[in-house]
């Protein structure tokens, strides 16, 4: 196969990606240097240099949304990694019906984040929601899940843990099942306890899987938007307004297209930093 036909095969993909991804990314970058109001759409954008970025630095709501994003991301990734790994370890040994459970665990991952947000909103309702009924069974008084600014973020975090712990579970389980049997069996023959086996054999063997899983979750949690949009719309106040939601609202509620593009640039840079390890690994492989 000649070189020329290589490029011909790549052409359709290149065209679509250029039109739908690269061009918007470029024009978003450009727009971050302009002041442009959505309500005065017909007027030309005004060049303001780095003014939008300066404004972000002094903007309290922007700082809050960065903090909310960091707290949200750190909480869900830690909880999901812990729970998912624990569960994979529990289910890794042969267990009748494992395949059936594993199948069920795929379901939350496939359900639309919008649906997750809506169903949890219903369940969190203070007076008729199922969750207050459930916590009531163990004697806890009704909680204002979505109306109390100090609890709403916890509510959002819980629903994310529900949807994405299964993802961690499936990846770690696949990693554990990929460990050569001889490795663990040899250490059992040598009289190693379960804990020794876990710390010295299993965890090191799946270290890379754990790392990649954590990064994938970090990136995804960092850009999550659709469940939160439908669960709280960032509220009450701005207590659950993650960066991507803040970006959306700046553009379509405050009508400030330039400023929202500056937020997009910040979001891109942060996610770019998070994805360096994976890109490094995968592009590095190309040399071989």
């Amino acid at each position: 196969m000649q070189r020329r036909s290589s490029y011909l095969f790549l052409l359709p993909a290149a065209l679509i990606v250029s039109v739908a991804l690269f061009y918007p990314i470029y024009s978003g970058l450009r727009l971050s240097l302009f002041d442009w109001n959505l309500r005065e759409f017909t007027k030309a954008p005004v060049f303001v240099g780095l003014q939008n970025f300066k404004e972000l630095l002094g903007d309290a709501n922007f700082r809050i949304s960065v903090r909310v994003t960091l707290v949200f991301t750190a909480s869900v990734v830690c909880a999901e990694m812990l729970l998912g790994t624990l569960f994979a370890l529990l289910l890794e040994q042969r267990l009748a019906g494992l395949r059936f459970f594993r199948t069920l665990f795929v379901l939350p991952i496939m359900i639309a984040p919008v649906v997750v947000g809506i169903v949890w909103k219903f369940m969190y309702n203070t007076s008729y929601g199922a969750i207050n009924y459930l916590v009531g069974l163990v004697g806890i008084k009704p909680i204002e899940w979505l109306a109390d600014p100090s609890i709403a973020l916890v509510a959002v975090i819980i629903s994310d843990i529900w949807q994405w712990t299964p993802f961690v579970f499936l990846l770690v389980l696949a990693g554990l099942q990929g460990i050569p049997k001889e490795l663990t069996e040899a250490s059992v023959v040598d009289g190693a306890s379960y804990l020794q086996n876990l710390i010295h054999i299993k965890l090191p063997a799946i270290a890379q899987v754990l790392g990649v899983t954590a990064i994938l979750r970090l990136i995804d949690a960092f850009r999550s938007l659709e469940a939160i949009y439908n669960l709280t719309y960032g509220g009450p106040g701005v207590s659950t307004e993650v960066l991507s939601l803040h970006l959306y609202k700046t553009a379509f509620a405050d009508s400030r297209l330039g400023l929202s593009s500056a937020i997009a640039v910040v979001l891109m840079i942060l996610i770019g930093l998070l994805s360096i390890p994976i890109m490094w690994r995968d592009v590095g492989r190309e040399r071989r």
Partner: protein, 277 residues
């Protein structure tokens, strides 16, 4: 004997945990589906009514009066068309990336990795501005192109991995017989890719079917898709939870179908890359 007893308690303890986790996992799904089958009065009762007289009233109301059938059709059209396009285009691109050496190859691979990471929300403003400036505001074409593009990186990557696992002798013998590269691709490689294409299709359909934020901004009253329709329905009508959960359940139907018919392929798609690399 004692070890036997110990093992038995351990495994029943594990079962207990697994069953508890499964119940937690299924609980929101159960709430969604059961509420959609309840009369509005029963939907609001606390404690939740575990036994109730089921009704399809919500589904009839939703698909009939509110015009949701149209949104359903919109979702089907956009999802199916963009899935077909993205898988075909990705297979074409994956072929030389798996088989050939050419200059710029690493840059292309790097670009696909980079594009997999971008959050769709950063596209919202530029794409909105662009389609408004060319006065193309019904949104269908925009969604088709963007969903096709957003799915390309993952699809190229997974199809490429599969092609690399196919023996090169297959291509070679066809080349020796005088086939053109395109004929080799279409007649030899593509049919062997069926399992990978199935995985790519499911994940592509999932993105297009579930996507919300771009559809929210780009579509209008007539062209909106189901996730947008359900979200706006809540804003407009408040708390008709029977109907809302009915729409939510309809949106989740493909998720049920894929999960229970193709769980193993889905797990392959989810874990590929992280585990095997």
């Amino acid at each position: 004997m004692t070890t036997g007893v110990k093992r038995l308690t351990l495994s029943s303890l594990r079962y207990l945990l697994v069953v508890a986790a499964t119940l937690l996992l299924l609980f929101p799904v159960y709430i969604m589906v059961s509420t959609s089958l309840k009369f509005e009065v029963d939907a609001f009762s606390s404690p939740p009514k575990w036994l109730f007289r089921p009704t399809l009233e919500n589904y009839v109301a939703v698909l009939g009066k509110a015009g949701f059938f149209r949104f359903f059709v919109n979702s089907v059209i956009v999802s199916l068309s963009s899935t077909a396009a993205t898988v075909l285009v990705a297979a074409l691109a994956a072929y030389p990336l798996a088989r050939n050496r050419f200059s710029g190859k690493r840059a292309v691979v790097g670009a696909t990795l980079f594009l997999r990471m971008i959050p769709p929300v950063i596209l919202v403003v530029p794409v909105y501005v662009f389609f408004n400036s060319i006065r193309l505001t019904n949104g269908r074409l925009a969604l088709f192109v963007i969903y096709t593009a957003l799915n390309l990186p993952f699809n190229i990557w997974i199809l490429r991995t599969f092609i690399m696992d196919l023996p090169y002798e297959l291509d070679e013998s066809a080349f020796i017989d005088g086939c053109s590269p395109f004929a080799v691709f279409a007649k030899i490689v593509l049919p062997l890719l069926a399992p990978a294409i199935a995985i790519a299709s499911v994940f592509s359909f999932r993105l297009a079917w579930n996507e919300f934020i771009l559809s929210l901004v780009l579509t209008n009253r007539a062209t909106r898709t189901l996730p947008v329709a359900v979200s706006l329905y809540i804003t407009d009508t408040g708390t008709e939870w029977g109907k809302i959960t009915a729409i939510a359940t309809i949106i989740a139907i493909p998720a049920f179908i894929f999960t229970f018919s193709a769980a193993r392929s889905l797990i392959t798609g989810l874990t590929a890359g992280a585990v095997k690399g």
